[in-house]
Symmetry: C2
Subunit: 198 residues, 2 copies
Amino acid sequence: MPRTKGDHEARRRDVSEAVWRVLATRGFAGLTLRAVAAELSATTGLLTHYFPTKQALVAHALDILERRTMSRPRRHTGEGLTALRDALLDILPLTPEATDSNRIWVSSWDTALSEPDLSSDYARKYAAGRHRLRERVAAAQELGELPPGDPERIASAAQAFVLGLVVQSLFDPAAYPPERQVELLDDYLATLRPLSPA
Amino acid sequence: MPRTKGDHEARRRDVSEAVWRVLATRGFAGLTLRAVAAELSATTGLLTHYFPTKQALVAHALDILERRTMSRPRRHTGEGLTALRDALLDILPLTPEATDSNRIWVSSWDTALSEPDLSSDYARKYAAGRHRLRERVAAAQELGELPPGDPERIASAAQAFVLGLVVQSLFDPAAYPPERQVELLDDYLATLRPLSPA
């Protein structure tokens, strides 16, 4: 039977899935053609067709990570402070899928910090994330749900807080189950709120 | 001339220094016998005497990281909230040395998350760090510098905040120079403080 374009694309999807599963269990440190081939029950030879070099494999892995992050479902439960909380909850490892993605993001930092171009790219991504948080902070301020203050600083701090919470939760899921993560985030957001007048 | 024990130890120190420099520039992803040998202007053959396997090299790297972290200088500028601030400042990449250490810690997370034993070991280290922060939180509460509340929760949140700030600062040192990091930390500590009575 002749191979169709559909076969080819299905095969590419299988390869991407296998790369993702290897990353989720072994990180970038364990990402090798051999590991992906084993995951696919394929030969390393077949894999070299898709990834002629280790760099091509890493580039593909970073690309999947980026695409999955962009297309992940997002919470939209309200405006203002609720929208800020939604955006921060979207980052945390509250589900198995979000745990895999976060584990792969954290794992990618080693590679990203070693390569100046990639490192700048990550810095731009985090700056864009802060920009989106800043807009929600400013909207919450307009609604009087957050006190006045530089929204950029509040966004930077909130981003730092959730990133650190991601790392803690990945290393110690028993100490940071989803409800604990949410509790800590809500404590954090509560400290930002103005006290109601006495 | 016969080799003395002193020669041997000096050589080991040189090797450790070279491992550290490779980690600081290339991370665990770039840690190879070849890279360490190049850094030392030695042969890979000499290095296999110290590190017969890649695992032995990684184990040594983790050991240096641990020892350097344990022996780093610590701030002791006061009690209570000041002592908590000191402990958090000690974590941040405010100097070139602290930047290298943090960059190597962050880089080690990829390896640590892939190996269950190492991952548990990291979870224990972070729990011990929280325990030390919790004692300072409790002392600040006794002095009336922090409001009552579960000191473990406040310590967890503060640890998450500084860890995330470390990551942001490593990726974007231009956006997070030392004074910005300190400013964000002080904003954070200010949100924890009880408001003075109106």
